[in-house]
């Protein structure tokens, strides 16, 4: 970036607001719908101030009904608008599952492109913020398995703004997952102007030789910590990948890295069974079978509901579990 770019230090949630504001200023057809997104500015303040700038015509408090929010957003999207629908928490998206699964994601293919649904669904998600039951679900995999929708997860403020703008510009539905643990955990210098982080492209956060660590969202901090500590204690160096998009996966990035290291540990919050980690194992199996020196390890949430918050830390992967997996893999 040239030094001429004006930047502001922002948290991830501020960068998300910024991304919406940027696009709403440029495009009248971008609108925001959801529960408490208006005067209240969202329960995480992600839409804070937007109603003042854009009025309640474009920042719309809806009734408390997720199927209603998504279903009407589909109609709006088919008819000239680009709605950003906020689910208050990803764990409350389930009542809208039918509308997403049978309509948002299928209307383009159903009508051979006659009708389309340029819809962004934003949802805070993940455990570790001491929220009540259901609020902490990590169900990316429900959507990666759903044909016709892209799944995006930023892990930091810079990516959040760029990926959100890319999602709004995308002609098809995108589910944009916002790890609550990252909302205010760091500040980064964010360009004031519009920029894009391409959907479908991961990032290599750190170069290493011995093993590839693959994660996204709130697990990035966990993985980075593990990578740092394991290098210090064991001299093991890690390639750290932040996938950023879960569908479609960045195959080239993953394959190139594991073909170099011959080893991989995948880390995610969701239960291992049915989790996106398995897709990545398959991808590695498909692309890099002969390069692998040891079995891939997955460090994941358990095959249990995310428990009540007093014990959620024992549900979540942590850097100790990741380090153990690294050691097991390297010493295999």
């Amino acid at each position: 970036m040239s030094t001429a770019v004006k930047t502001q230090k922002q948290t991830m949630v501020q960068a998300i607001t910024d991304g919406m504001r940027t696009m709403m200023r440029e495009h009248d057809d971008v609108i925001v719908l959801g529960e408490d997104v208006g005067r209240n500015g969202g329960v995480f303040r992600a839409t804070d101030g937007l109603i003042d700038e854009f009025s309640d015509k474009r920042i719309i408090d809806t009734p408390l009904a997720e199927s209603g929010i998504i279903g009407t957003s589909i109609g709006l999207a088919m008819n000239g608008f680009r709605p950003i629908a906020e689910m208050q928490f990803l764990g409350f998206i389930y009542p809208a599952f039918n509308q997403i699964m049978t309509h948002a994601s299928r209307i383009r293919s159903r009508t051979l492109g006659h009708f389309t649904v340029p819809l962004v669904i934003r949802a805070p998600y993940g455990a570790g913020v001491r929220a009540p039951e259901i609020h902490s679900d990590s169900v990316e995999a429900l959507f990666t398995h759903m044909p016709g929708i892209k799944v995006v997860v930023p892990s930091n403020a810079y990516d959040a703004k760029g990926l959100l703008i890319a999602s709004i510009e995308d002609p098809d539905p995108v589910i944009f997952l916002e790890p609550m643990r990252c909302y205010r955990s760091h500040k980064l210098e964010i360009p004031e102007e519009k920029y894009i982080v391409e959907i479908g492209k991961g990032a290599r956060l750190q170069e290493g030789e011995d093993i590839t660590l693959i994660a996204w969202g709130a697990m990035i901090d966990v993985v980075k910590k593990a990578a740092k500590e394991i290098e210090e204690s064991e001299g093991i160096t890690c390639d750290v990948l932040d996938l950023r998009t879960l569908f479609p996966l960045d195959r080239d990035l993953i394959a190139e890295s594991v073909q170099k290291t011959g080893r991989a540990v995948i880390v995610h919050e969701a239960p291992g069974t049915g989790g996106v980690g398995n897709d990545i194992v398959s991808l590695i199996n498909d692309t890099s079978f002969l390069h692998m020196r040891s079995p891939i390890k997955r460090v994941t949430g358990h095959d249990t509901p995310v428990p009540m918050f007093a014990i959620e830390d024992d549900y979540l992967p942590n850097s100790d579990r990741v380090k153990q997996a690294i050691i097991d893999t390297v010493r295999f």
Partner: protein, 355 residues
């Protein structure tokens, strides 16, 4: 409660005008237009049932008996309005300009069957029951935000009123004063379940009370009642007065689908009786006779034209050739993801090998 929502009628079953409010508009030309469309729909329906029996299309959903409800309401729409039908609403979609060929293709399982004519805002049949009420609300809301005077109509059955989306659709539409008409065809059954087991309420119209919007109950086999009441509701919608719930009381003569056997769950004598006594086409024929609009030769000519048109559409359907399997891959996203592109490439490579 059914006394608060009496069934509105304009023509009684003998084709006599029982409510003269709109009599001046019940002209020969409108009457003939309505009749022609009803006849066309009925002949389409009969043809489709036959095509299914012959194995030329797949399972089909007949609508015979519901023509007045669908056509009276659909004729109200103007260019630019949105229509959200179910799988049973081809009389409505044909009236609003859908293509006969594509409807046949739909039942032949062709993707092209879901595509409306260019510029026509007709959504494909909503398969998940009641889901379309929200789309109708959303598209109409968009019209309102754009400041046009267009609106939407959503078709749905008595069974559909039980789904959560029915409720959410009416609630959103009422809260945001959206220009949408919720057009219910109460045909007495959701597959086998009679309306008395679907709900405790005696009418569907009264459900409008929950949303403080108008609820209208009318004789769905009286095409004039349907036409004028729906026109009023759409006018209200266009004028910014928000949604209306209309309950058109009707009956399906046939099976739920060609795979269904209604004798398992209802008295088929009732269906026979209805066909003889309350048929929507017969009623308007009688009216035309009373008014001197009826000529056998006119009917014969119209029927002939329709038959030719339908036969031509059948030919077009069959001339369409094989459905392109690549359709499955090429429209999932505007630009295929690498996964889909790879699957398409493999599919095409296999297809080439097989040749």
């Amino acid at each position: 409660m059914d006394t608060q929502f009496p069934i509105k009628q304009i023509l009684n079953e003998d084709g006599i005008v029982v409510n003269s409010e709109y009599e001046s508009e019940m002209t020969e030309s409108l009457t003939k237009e309505l009749y022609t469309k009803m006849l066309r729909a009925r002949l389409f329906d009969k043809k489709s049932v036959n095509l299914q029996r012959q194995g030329r299309i797949g399972t089909y959903v007949p609508f015979e008996g519901q023509e007045a409800a669908q056509i009276g309401s659909a004729l109200v729409l103007k260019e630019g309005d949105w229509m959200f039908p179910t799988y049973r609403d081809h009389a409505a979609t044909l009236t609003y300009g859908h293509s006969l060929r594509n409807l046949f293709l739909y039942w032949k399982g062709y993707p092209m069957g879901c595509v409306p004519p260019e510029g026509k805002k007709i959504f494909p049949p909503a398969v998940p029951i009641a889901s379309q009420l929200l789309h109708a609300t959303g598209t109409a809301w968009a019209e309102k935000m754009k400041g046009t005077d267009h609106g939407s109509i959503a078709y749905f059955g008595d069974g559909a009123t039980s789904e959560g989306d029915f409720h959410e659709g009416l609630n959103f539409a009422s809260v945001f004063d959206v220009p949408v008409v919720f057009f219910n065809q109460n045909n007495g059954f959701a597959i086998s379940v009679p309306v008395e087991k679907q709900m405790k309420s005696k009418t569907i119209a009264q459900k409008a009370v929950a949303y403080d919007i108008p609820g209208i109950r009318l004789d769905g086999n009286d095409v004039f009642a349907v036409y004028f009441e729906t026109r009023e509701a759409m006018k209200n919608a266009r004028n910014g007065n928000g949604p209306t719930l209309i309950e058109a009381v009707t009956y399906r003569y046939g099976a739920h689908t060609t795979a269904d056997d209604p004798s398992k769950y209802r008295d088929q004598e009732e269906s026979k009786r209805r066909r003889e006594q309350t048929d929507p086409l017969v009623r308007i024929e009688r009216y035309m006779e009373h008014k001197g609009f009826w000529e056998d030769s006119w009917k014969a000519k119209v029927e002939n034209e329709i038959t030719v048109e339908i036969e031509k559409a059948v030919e077009e359907m069959e001339a369409f050739g094989a459905a392109p399997s690549t359709d499955m891959f090429t429209h999932v996203f505007e630009t295929p993801t690498w996964t889909i592109q790879e699957q398409l490439d493999e599919f095409e490579a296999r297809a080439k090998e097989e040749v």
